[in-house]
Symmetry: C2
Subunit: 418 residues, 2 copies
Amino acid sequence: MEENSFLELAKKAKAASKKIAILPTELKNKALLNIAENLLKNQDKIFEANKKDLDEALPLVEKCELSKSVFNRLKLDENKMRDMIQGIVDISNLEDPVGKTLLKHQLDDGLVLTKISCPIGVLGIIFEARPDVISQISALAIKSSNAVILKGGKESVNTNKAIMAAIQEALDMTEGFPKDVLTQVFSRDDVKNMLSMDKYIDLIIPRGGNSLVKFIKENTKIPVLGHADGICHIFVDKSADLDKAIRVVIDAKTQYPSACNAVETLLIHKDFEGTTELLKALENAGIELVSAPESWHKEYSDKILAYKFVTSLEEATEHINEFSSGHTESIITEDEKNAQIFMSAVDSSGVYHNVSTRFADGFRYGFGAEVGISTNKTHARGPVGLEGLTIYKYNIEGDGHIVKDYVEGVKKFNHKDL
Amino acid sequence: MEENSFLELAKKAKAASKKIAILPTELKNKALLNIAENLLKNQDKIFEANKKDLDEALPLVEKCELSKSVFNRLKLDENKMRDMIQGIVDISNLEDPVGKTLLKHQLDDGLVLTKISCPIGVLGIIFEARPDVISQISALAIKSSNAVILKGGKESVNTNKAIMAAIQEALDMTEGFPKDVLTQVFSRDDVKNMLSMDKYIDLIIPRGGNSLVKFIKENTKIPVLGHADGICHIFVDKSADLDKAIRVVIDAKTQYPSACNAVETLLIHKDFEGTTELLKALENAGIELVSAPESWHKEYSDKILAYKFVTSLEEATEHINEFSSGHTESIITEDEKNAQIFMSAVDSSGVYHNVSTRFADGFRYGFGAEVGISTNKTHARGPVGLEGLTIYKYNIEGDGHIVKDYVEGVKKFNHKDL
């Protein structure tokens, strides 16, 4: 798309964001249920479009130009479709994150400050070949009253178009639902356009591999919510319980090795007595152990685990704070005091005690839905639910109150929470 | 400073940020009181240094190379010093924003998630010729357990050095307080260095004029907390009370015209019957009225007010959403319903009813201290207190819990808030 056309589209999204910002909860939920219904009604069309994408992708897989795992993520079957639809229904059942009173504070008699949650505005979503992301993000955006511009991977373009057509049709059917809340774009230039339009796009959420996320973070001034690397650590303390250490490390490394919350580095206290049994158990579980990795920054995304001995809890926390990507870390220890020190000293979005790092997930945390996992140090950190798509505004109700009276001492503030 | 030297300094600040992150509240407060005491003890030295800065600045003012208002802000007298010191004592009395439990949620028996507030890390503060900013920001950073790199204006370099010397001496006296929490840099190159080190600096806070803030926002990937323009609006609705309209607009324009929360544009409903009296009253208050401004984006910072007639509430909110800088807006109306529509439809950090826009201020909001006012759409919006210098982390306490059990259905989550 030409830059000017994209600009028009972004302006329309901004205007739509102001309209959806004030939509009643019931109307947003009605729209979500209409989407769920219409996806079901159009699922054959969507499967057909998906087959077209798969047919075009298959030769690329055979020529090794597309990975098998991307191909698998591209594939939409009845199970995935059912989950997609159920996901939208679930989001319709979540509490509305917008319009919540976060603070109510009297400044003076008849002068009341209220802090109210509100949407962020326009979200730019850039995702790779996972067509289920469209419906999920669209639903989260609608529920949180944000407008969205979506750019999907080129491999799933037919599927994406079919899904979006069903979603748009459902929104058109929903009386009172504003136009232009959801927009889809397709070209590489559109990514460039999206990243440059900080005047109209308020937040970028990339969903995809490390290189996509890194590219985006390096090429925009718009805040980016997400994570690139997932370099997670487990520290087996001197007083760790051997069985727990074995269970947790095997789970964190093997249950889903390519997940961002899988462990990459194991730190073992040099005085831990179960080291031999622990390492043997890990090898028996099919884990390749690496004692001198080329880099402690490496994310293996495979059943490979770097390990290192440390002489103290402090050395462990320092190693983690230096090499972690700030995602999730865990200490295995029976020493409650050491656990507390570890959990407060380690500066990551998730810091656990005797728990697998794989628990870092919005659904497991009980958030009901997840936008992604953030390793940012501002706005939202860790698994981000609907709340991460909101900010707040301050309202003041008064009766002709002016600042001059307070500056000159005619009136005095009598601050109190209401 | 050479880029490499700055890098070393930034690394030290990052290391210090991990240490201050776990400092007990009492120790932070002790450090603050020591700073307050030592500033008082060293005030003559500081005044001397300030005199040197003023002596060097005066010829520049005479040659019109430095504005009178910058010169005035540069000047430190006993009143300002007393306020500075009292400000630090006040911050020591505020609640610690770090270590607060924001959520406690059982995922399963013996598996408990806690969301805990924690510091952001390293703050980069860039400010112009206001030496009182150093002590204020240093105190806020210490209270919120963040490390800081400060770069002040060149006009106040002697004053800044003298203040920082007194602060550092106080911190050295405070047993157990980590080194390198506060660092001061001086050169233009250091600004460039600061803005480029997104690996070590987590948040930039600019304190100064529009052009400084704009330059910073355009030249860094680090999140920036602040505001450039302050284009605030007041909408006088059809059913506005004339006296309230006059009071509020005069206050919002004249009480401190160069403040960011002063009003720049007045929108008047075409059917408002008091228009003639309103405009006359504004002129009598010394306000210059402009009916055809060169731009609705202009911030006058003076007793000049652009105005425009609108045909509806909707036209008013649309004008504001298009031209506002997202700072603060107010509606003057006796129609409660219109007030509610305005307050929810206008997308600014502060949206008021029958109140002067000048109330947008952390102290007036009752936050006790203010880092600045943010027009961001993420992280923190409006007047930002200590809370805006924190983020959170998630801790999970378990007993060898692994994800495999839940994926395979051996165990089930029993989410509940605790």
